[in-house]
Amino acid sequence: MIQSYHDTSFQTAKFIVIFSYFAALVINVFAIRIDWLLLMPPITLLVLMFWVVQILNQTHLYTALALGLLHDALHNTLLGSHSLLFIVITFIMLRMRLRFRSVPLWQQSLMVGIYMLLFQTGHFLFYTPLLIDNALYLYWSMPLASAFIWPAIVLVLGLLSKPSLES
């Protein structure tokens, strides 16, 4: 079992949860300015996935809805479309979270990569973005990038949420 996960509740770690969503949103907003950061996954979704696994007494579906709406506003897409994708991925994670937190980190990364591939496929079918030259490779490299980013998210947020659990 991964040491970074602790049974915690939203109340004990609420400031870290809110701050982590805010920081993730800032990173995503920063990334949409730069061409090659097309491979950057939606960090807010990765952070949401972490909290889904970490905080077991909540479903996080409303959070998925709210974060999805913010992504819709950010990307100028149909309101609710990102929310739908976020909710689908959150729901899959909800079904799997107990099994997910019991596997080694590398295996979690692999699973996150698969979830994000699912997300990206849905994203591609929904929005049919025009991908020219390098954009095509960058766009479809996103699940791989997610798999690499996941351990960092688990370690950082696991470390940050630990003191709040003990307090």
Binding site: F22, I32, R33, D72, A73, H75, L79, I132
Partner: protein, 251 residues
């Protein structure tokens, strides 16, 4: 999703979400601003003096051209009166805005500028830079506006080819590319032809440069050309833009 797609009823909610994102956008822009500030600090006096000299020269040339344009406007107005047409010269006003943030993804291409509803900006107002058309205001917050760039896949502009007057529709293709639709294969087109706004539809005033033609393909059996174009405006590096108002169709 349905109400947003079919009815545009969700405009207020979108504006609310955009307002929520505004401080996040400002925060995300800080690293770039620090980088710009640092680069600016590194410039020596000599290069700044050179830049000043260049700008002074450019200013002088522009003033000379403006004088000529004013006389041409008066002459055109006089000719219109003589011809008895109902047309009138537009009395456009300009407002300068700074670019706060921009998006550069295949999904959407927009700018966020530092003028909003409190500054008198309205929806659909056209935005230009010193070279040509940039886009139009699609979303407003009290202190900022979001401008959909002409390269956005959801953006279209009625245009005409300056050399021949042939009309068409310019569509954004994303990633700094444009396509031109509805130009028949019988039309006279050349690579490098300048595309300007036609003024049809009342959103964009006529005569502003938009793009140059970079590729013309005739597909067998098709009645229209497949045309690619390159925007003239500096869509990715512009720091300051102009908001146009006061022409027909605009408040």
């Amino acid at each position: 999703m349905s109400s947003d797609f079919y009815g545009q009823y969700m405009g207020h909610i979108r504006n609310l979400l955009t307002s929520t994102l505004e401080p996040v956008e400002r925060l995300a822009a800080i690293p770039t601003q620090i980088h710009k500030w640092y680069t600016h600090r590194l410039q020596d006096n000599a290069s700044l003096q050179n830049q000043l000299l260049k700008l002074n020269t450019e200013n002088l040339l522009l003033k000379a051209r403006l004088q000529r344009m004013e006389s041409l406007e008066q002459e055109l107005e006089r000719h219109r009166r003589l011809l008895g047409t109902t047309g009138r010269m537009d009395n456009q006003s300009l407002q300068i805005a700074s670019v706060l943030f921009y998006s550069n993804t295949p999904l959407t291409q927009y700018l966020t500028i530092n003028k909003g509803a409190l500054d008198g900006v309205n929806l659909n107002q056209p935005i230009i830079d010193d070279k040509g058309l940039v886009g139009q205001v699609t979303s407003l917050t009290p202190t900022a506006s979001r401008v959909l760039k002409i390269t956005d896949p959801n953006h279209q502009v009625p245009i005409r080819v300056l050399r021949t007057g042939q009309r068409g529709i310019l569509t954004g293709l994303g990633q700094n590319q444009l396509g031109i639709d509805f130009i028949p294969t019988s039309a006279n087109l050349q690579l490098g032809d300048l595309i300007v706004t036609s003024g049809l539809g009342g959103i964009f005033p006529a005569g502003y440069p938009v793009a140059t033609i970079t590729d013309i393909t005739q597909i067998d059996g098709q009645t229209y050309y497949s045309i690619k174009a390159q925007p003239i405006a500096d869509l990715f590096n512009a720091h300051e833009v102009l908001i146009l108002s006061g022409f027909r169709g605009q408040p």
